[in-house]
């Protein structure tokens, strides 16, 4: 199952500079495990020691925040796009 994953600038050291990588998995958790087999260390930057998504990391499936879709258990289907972004302060506030 092919999932397109967009990697933010600050994590591209783990993907050899690649902006977009392919992965697979039925859930976000599975996907991150799969990615870690090829991009070692990436998973540990996104998931804390107690197994939750890092507070300053946002993960979106087809532009929707996974924290409202079951977090790491959010379901994935073929053709989904997953975007990983660091949390930043708002824009023109």
């Amino acid at each position: 199952m092919a999932i397109e994953v967009r990697i933010p600038t600050i994590l591209r050291s783990y993907t050899g500079g690649e902006k977009v990588v392919q992965g697979s998995g039925d859930t976000v958790r599975d996907l991150l495990t799969d990615l870690d087999t090829r991009y070692s260390g990436l998973r540990a930057r996104l998931i804390t020691e107690d197994g939750a998504l890092h507070r300053f990391v946002n993960v979106y499936v087809n532009d929707e925040d996974v924290r409202f879709l079951g977090a790491l258990d959010a379901k994935l289907t073929d053709g989904d796009t997953v975007t990983i972004l660091p949390a930043v302060a708002g824009g023109a506030r």
């Binding site: 300053f56 409202f68 824009g91």
Partner: protein, 321 residues
């Protein structure tokens, strides 16, 4: 009511307008799905931020933090600074804004016209850097008052006590509320109010997704989540890219005649997504999205004309919402 004792008293009470042409068509016999726009550009300085600015200043006056002639310091790249500068002028305070150097020219001009002083922070650090710089300056000037919109409960309370009740009064059948996510004050305040009053209400955040430069952090641990933010108030959160936000901003003007800033386009994009979902599920929906400001301050970006690709290029590296 159309007469007020001063400009400060004219804050809030903004129109809620239906969007019959932009609301998606529903199949025959299906329940109605309607879009509504809350026109927050109709506030004294032209943005939703007047509500928060007024509440934060009044709260600081009430608590004794803010005394006559005091200096207000705030990390802001635009609307909050303009709103605070106006309130500061009328209430007799000095205003100092800390903002990233890559914001639009109009905002800088407006702030200076309102009498605010500006301290620029490096563009590469985005708003995170502006917040950090402001905190540093605040430590060096303990007598200056940082109202700090990202963590000030009066920001959210402004919306709990005014925006939320206005929406429910004007549209008791509201099913969805959509707004841009920045300090999170609007969504937290309106969200809490509507959750108390309306069964099954959906509170939806539209978060602007900028070009890569804006995310130029050194590492994940330097990220930032506003202190006001409580994910439990939201039901969904969408990330909206520059292209979609520009497309919807133009569509809103083209189809309904509303000239808004790009954060409104992001909110509309999310509003249309939930409206179409309601149609697929055969549910009735009254979807309100918030027009945070008008488009005037963003004209110099050039993003209102040309192709979408050109607009995206023009906004690359800019904080467009």
């Amino acid at each position: 009511m159309a007469r007020y004792e001063s400009l400060l008293d004219a804050c809030g009470g903004t129109p809620l307008v239906g969007l019959p042409r932009l609301s998606p068509e529903v199949p025959a016999d299906a329940p109605p799905v309607r879009l509504w726009a809350k026109l927050e550009d109709r506030n004294p300085t032209g943005s939703v931020k007047d509500r928060a600015a007024l509440y934060m200043v009044r709260e600081a006056e009430r608590s004794g933090r803010l005394r006559p002639g005091a200096t207000i310091l705030e990390p802001t790249s635009g609307n909050t600074g303009i709103a605070l500068a106006m309130v500061a002028k009328l209430r007799g305070y000095r205003m100092v804004c800390v903002m990233p150097e890559n914001v639009s020219a109009e905002r800088v001009q407006l702030l200076r016209m309102y009498g605010a002083e500006i301290i620029f922070s490096p563009a590469a650090g985005g708003s995170n850097q502006a917040v950090a710089t402001a905190k540093q300056i605040s430590a060096e000037h303990p007598d200056w008052v940082m109202l700090y919109q990202y963590g000030n409960q009066a920001n959210a309370r402004a919306h709990y006590e005014t925006t939320g009740p206005e929406l429910l009064q004007d549209l008791p059948t509201i099913t969805h509320f959509v707004a841009g996510l920045g300090t999170t004050g609007t969504l937290m305040g309106v969200g809490r109010y509507l959750r108390e009053k309306v069964d099954g209400i959906e509170i939806i955040a539209a978060e602007p997704r900028y070009g890569e430069l804006v995310y130029g952090l050194r590492n994940i641990d330097e990220g930032y989540v506003p202190e006001l933010y409580d994910a439990g108030v939201l039901t969904r959160r969408f990330s909206v890219g520059t292209r979609d936000a520009v497309l919807r901003t133009r569509q809103l003007l083209e189809v309904e005649g509303i000239f808004a800033g790009f954060s409104t386009g992001a909110a509309l994009h999310a509003a249309l997504a939930v409206a179409h979902q309601a149609i697929r599920e055969g549910r009735r929906a009254d979807v309100v999205f918030l027009v945070a400001d008008g488009g005037w301050k963003y004209l110099s970006t050039g993003a209102y004309s040309g192709t979408l690709a050109e607009a995206e290029q023009a906004l690359e590296g800019q904080l467009w919402a």
